[in-house]
């Protein structure tokens, strides 16, 4: 964990309000998919936490949705610009546990909205381990869909759900699976809860408003079965059995 300077290599709109940014810089400390980075944006006080979507030796990919001032500014950034980034942060998904938990059935990765990006890195990591996952991507409507092709290009099974049925399976991510076994999920809290209710076991990634992102302020703490955990440090990924709703 450290702060370092990354240079923007590309910053393209995947749809009107979702961007994919590729950054060149030191990725050597990234330990697991599901970790995140904390991005300093000139003129704003707090850094902005964004999940790592993908990385290789010296390139980092993030995907972000424009929801406020920080992400608006990010959307206007141009290749060549440098960013002060703190990371990698958080625990990320525990691949050993996924492998162990998904002996009978294939692991199921479920992403909703901007919970999708970390599932991409996770899918790749599982493929590397020869534990090919199944993937469900949830959207509200067909116009919102992004990264379906990128997942398919990995060679994994991908199901897409849309709440209004305009594409893929009509309904929510939970409508695309009957008896989910070991699930890794990231997305809005109501989705996480619905998946949690159904899944046998798994890992769930949470969001919280953060000040530091590295465990210094207790701003992001949540209650778990094993006491308080910091989403930024002991999270963002929690085990199914420890989660208290």
């Amino acid at each position: 964990m450290k702060t370092s300077i990354y240079k923007i290599q590309s910053n393209r709109a995947l749809r009107s309000d979702i961007y994919e940014m590729k950054l060149k810089g030191d990725t050597s400390s990234i330990k697991a998919p599901g970790q995140f980075v904390n991005i300093k944006i000139e003129g704003l006080y707090l850094r902005r936490p964004i999940s790592i979507c993908d990385w290789d030796q010296n390139q980092l990919t993030i995907i972000y949705k424009v929801v406020g001032e920080g992400t608006e500014r990010m959307a206007r950034m141009a290749p060549g610009q440098e960013l002060d980034i703190l990371g990698p942060l958080g625990n990320g998904y525990d691949l050993d546990k996924i492998e162990a938990g998904a002996k009978e059935k294939r692991p199921l990765l479920i992403g909703g909205g901007v919970g999708i990006p970390p599932m991409y890195g996770l899918a790749k990591a599982l493929l590397d381990r020869k534990v090919p996952p199944e993937v469900i991507l949830g959207f509200n409507k067909s116009e919102e869909i992004f990264y379906e092709k990128e997942f398919k290009d990995l060679g994994v099974d991908v199901k897409v759900t849309t709440a209004n049925g305009s594409y893929g399976i009509e309904g929510f991510v939970t409508d695309a699976t009957k008896n989910p076994g070991y699930v890794c999920a990231c997305g809005p809290e109501p989705m996480l809860k619905a998946v949690w209710d159904k899944a046998e076991n798994g890992q769930f990634s949470f969001e919280a408003r953060m000040a530091c992102g590295f465990g210094g302020c207790m701003g992001c703490s949540c209650q778990t079965k094993y006491g308080a955990k910091r989403i930024c440090k002991e999270g963002p990924v929690l085990e199914k059995e420890e989660i208290l709703w």
């Binding site: 408003r209 530091c212 590295f214 207790m218």
Partner: protein, 303 residues
């Protein structure tokens, strides 16, 4: 060489830079960024008698050049702090530390202070009578001279270590409270704690913070902190630890010229984990540029 040492109630700090309580945990997280032994001291997270989870989520809001927190004194409680956190802190930090204690009753303050009195590494007990994030108690003690004095006396009665009272800025007349603490025997004062602030999420039409209001800190509050440190330092004869928005060596110098003997750095650590390190490295260079040989010479120099 510039002499950056400062003296606080018999303790000599190598430099005046101290991470502020609640923004540095018990130091561990920062060891990943730099050797924290460069710090003048550390004021660790506020301790209460019992473990506390603190307030519901969300408890952080962004502001223009600052932030609001409503952490609400999350801490593992006195026993765990003493048996677990302090021994671990002693391994990674070798100098005297500042024990920040809180309470919901005079007795709780005294209980925490008494326990801290027995901890060898604790050099100063900092009594937080000013947390805006706990509904009853906490801040209430710090907004009246009488109750602030009462807490001071109760803590003084149970410890021989220097006692610093941490004052709230959310008051009409901070000088009267400072004087009351001095008269009650305080060895020093720490100020300012956070200002009570609020943000509203205009999309959700609700306060950002679950608790509605929270403690506002960061560079935005610096001019208020400088003013209060100036007023208090002029009015009392005990040392003042100045804080509120300090983020650079320039801010440290300004705070000290206003009257602070040492300086705490809070929110700045959160947005830049290297903040204290950078300030400590920059300080001698700045002092040289300003023609200051001995940092202690500038304390309260601004008239």
């Amino acid at each position: 060489m510039v002499d950056t040492r400062v003296r606080l109630s018999g303790l000599t700090l190598e430099n005046p830079v101290i991470p502020a309580s609640g923004t540095f945990g018990y130091g561990k997280e920062y060891t990943e960024f730099y050797d924290i032994n460069i710090l003048g001291s550390i004021s660790f997270k506020g301790t209460t008698a019992d473990p506390r989870f603190g307030n519901p989520q969300p408890r952080i809001a962004e502001c223009s050049q600052g932030m609001i927190n409503s952490v609400g004194l999350q801490n593992p409680g006195l026993e765990a702090v003493i048996n677990k956190e302090l021994p671990e802190l002693a391994k990674i930090y070798k100098k005297p530390v500042i024990a920040n204690v809180s309470g919901f009753s005079i007795e709780e303050y005294a209980k925490c202070a008494e326990a801290m009195d027995r901890q060898q590494q604790v050099g100063i007990i900092e009594v937080n009578v000013s947390c805006p994030n706990v509904h009853d108690g906490g801040m209430a003690f710090g907004v009246l001279p009488e109750s602030a004095a009462e807490v001071t006396k109760a803590v003084k009665a149970v410890t021989k270590k220097p006692v610093y009272i941490k004052l709230s800025p959310n008051v009409t007349d901070i000088v009267s409270i400072a004087r009351a603490c001095e008269e009650a025997g305080a060895d020093g004062l720490s100020l300012i704690n956070t200002l009570l602030g609020m943000r509203i999420d205009i999309k959700r039409r609700q306060p950002v913070i679950a608790n509605k209001m929270g403690g506002f800190s960061g560079p935005a509050i610096f001019p208020i902190a400088v003013r209060m440190v100036y007023q208090v330092a002029k009015a009392v004869n005990i040392p003042v630890i100045g804080m509120g928005g300090v983020s650079s060596a320039r801010d440290v110098v300004e705070m000290m010229m206003a009257g602070a003997t040492a300086v705490q750095v809070g929110a700045a650590n959160l947005v830049n984990p290297y903040a204290c390190k950078e300030i400590i490295e920059e300080l001698p260079l700045l002092l040289e540029e300003l023609g200051i040989d001995r940092l202690e010479d500038i304390i309260g120099i601004a008239e």
